[in-house]
Subunit: 177 residues, 2 copies
DNA sequence: CGGCACACGTGATAC
DNA sequence: TGTATCACGTGTGCC
């Protein structure tokens, strides 16, 4: 029950007032960094801050997890690199069924590629019934050709692939790994 | 300048006490979700909370950015390769170039095959940009699909080929030589 | 002792 | 009209 001297009392008041000011400013600052704040009373600010903070922490946790999974995803890609050698030959694929011929070519874009292919088909005595060219990425083409052997012609898939390989892809292949 | 009745005064005291209690508990709760808190006075709690919150927000921002860059991160790894192929028994072929995916399927005609393929594409988070179906002879189909990986998706050719192999061809394959 | 932080009761005020 | 919240001055304890 001791009282202070008037001077001390006034200092106390001032100090306390200053402290409250600081606290009030901190509340305002806090309310500005917490988005979606509806009520602005202190309890709501603290409550929503806690809630929002937990969301942020969980979000960081999730994102960190996905970040950890990036290397493994890239590892899968690395593993598949080994398969390329076996695939080089299958950049051209040919199928024969009776007199029908189905050809699949994967190559990079280059002026006159389709023209040279059609010329080669003519040389092979294959009449083209359908040809579809799909762009794949900025530099590649996927070409499907449906053809038919001309009368009296009997050709093998090996002949087709060889002819196309020599006359088409060998000249355009360099950019494709 | 109106005074309250003694009863009302007491209620006011109780209410105010309860409010302070609530605020105090909120401060404690807040201090528990903010890590690395050295001082436990209210100003420090609020200040460190603001600081920590800003760090979290920036961290989330950065992680979101890196998340968007996952494909490019993978791109760096496979930039030497530029293109990755894989052939499974040459009935299914998949290629990946950046986010583009090119799939080639050779199978026999059967009701619902295309539907099942498209469903599988959806399961793989691949959005189909183009699909072309060429009949080859009376019983066979040659299907070419041009698709694109959906955002945040990083899939391998092996995944694609396996999924299609299991869910499509294994059920329809018998008639194909 | 002084500096600091807190809880308390109280009056004022907004809805 | 009660039912909230707030700021204020004060008492008290802790370095």
């Amino acid at each position: 029950m001791y009282k202070r001297s008037p001077i001390q009392a006034q200092e106390h008041v001032t100090a306390e007032r200053k402290r409250r000011e600081k606290l009030g400013e901190l509340f305002i600052s806090l309310s500005k960094v917490v988005p979606g704040l509806k009520k602005l009373d202190k309890s709501s600010i603290l409550g929503d801050t806690i809630e929002y903070m937990k969301e942020l922490q969980q979000q960081v946790k999730v994102l960190e997890e996905t970040k950890k999974n990036i290397p493994s995803a890239c590892e899968n890609i690395k593993e598949n690199v080994n398969c390329i050698d076996q695939v080089v030959e299958s950049k051209i694929k040919a199928r024969i069924l009776d007199k029908s011929v189905l050809i699949n070519i994967h190559c990079n874009k280059q002026d006159g590629v389709v023209g040279r292919i059609l010329f080669e088909m003519e040389q092979l005595h294959l009449s083209v019934n359908d040809i579809r060219i799909m762009p794949f990425g900025p530099t590649n083409l996927e070409i499907s050709i449906l053809a038919e052997m001309e009368n009296g012609c009997c050709i093998t898939v090996q002949d087709i692939v060889n002819a196309l390989q020599i006359n088409i892809l060998d000249q355009v292949q360099s950019a494709v790994a």
